[in-house]
Symmetry: D2
Amino acid sequence: MAREKGFRVIAEFSIHPIGEGTSVSRYVREALSELKKAKGLRLQVTPMATVIEGEKLSDILPAVEAAHESLFRMGARRVDFVLRVDDRRDKKRRMEDKVREVV
Amino acid sequence: MAREKGFRVIAEFSIHPIGEGTSVSRYVREALSELKKAKGLRLQVTPMATVIEGEKLSDILPAVEAAHESLFRMGARRVDFVLRVDDRRDKKRRMEDKVREVV
Amino acid sequence: MAREKGFRVIAEFSIHPIGEGTSVSRYVREALSELKKAKGLRLQVTPMATVIEGEKLSDILPAVEAAHESLFRMGARRVDFVLRVDDRRDKKRRMEDKVREVV
Amino acid sequence: MAREKGFRVIAEFSIHPIGEGTSVSRYVREALSELKKAKGLRLQVTPMATVIEGEKLSDILPAVEAAHESLFRMGARRVDFVLRVDDRRDKKRRMEDKVREVV
């Protein structure tokens, strides 16, 4: 199924270094600032991840890669992340719609 | 490290049936209503999951299991879920604190 | 859909402490030894997780909880885990079947 | 921390369509065949995912994107995936090493 104009990919990204102390918020802030540099992405920070909405997966992946690399530039030696992607092409929706439909 | 009083486990839960159509919101609503029945959990619905805050992991797991089982009661034949847990015992924090520290 | 006898839940569990150094294998070994204590579970260690097969979700969750708690007993101050569950009740299969069907 | 030559990123990828029936193995096979086309990646299929080892994250992400897109070409209307990445730059290791250290 080809993507028509106006459809959005919704993803969730969670990242942290392993071995740089129990507090990792300064690393998460840096990752977030990288995501913000990417054009055309909408972001929502939650207690466990950052939700990312973009037009195409190929807009989201470079931002994720930049965020990942930014932790190493800060000195991290080991970085783990989880990216979950939900791509639906039979119905237009934005991130707010997904919440509205279930609450 | 033993858990002292007042510490909270923060988790994230995402569930859907596979093979019951592309729209799964009625299943997610049912799962959510099961989570709400559990005593002592705080919930936040995001576009990709439900964040769960509880006093102990053993308060969260039965709620997750009830939510999982509820989809089968609705007729689902296959159910997948992801549960991510973040349990920190060196610092008290609630779900809002995790967001506040990074934005 | 009720679970008939002989069906199996297949799950995947990945755990690590945050802030106890970049090498976490001794913690993973401990978690694994807790999983092994649980009756009736089959385990397969992969480079990124441990696959768990059990008769019911309620057999798997206590083992996951015991594994989680074991890291704190070793001194970890913060522990993160991911549990993914695939529960299918329209077809009997074991963990090997899932691999056989796709390779 | 910059990546030195010889270091490897280890990842795990799990993908399925939502709403194309309870059996998704033909979709997983297609995704796997896309991953195999990528140069320089090592793959290991497990019951819950495919483990991917590559030299850099930027070698893995295009393969993941191709796999994702291949499900839509087969007719899927909604596709979900989970990608977990473990990137360690203080110690050389391959996917087998991660298993050997814990079993």
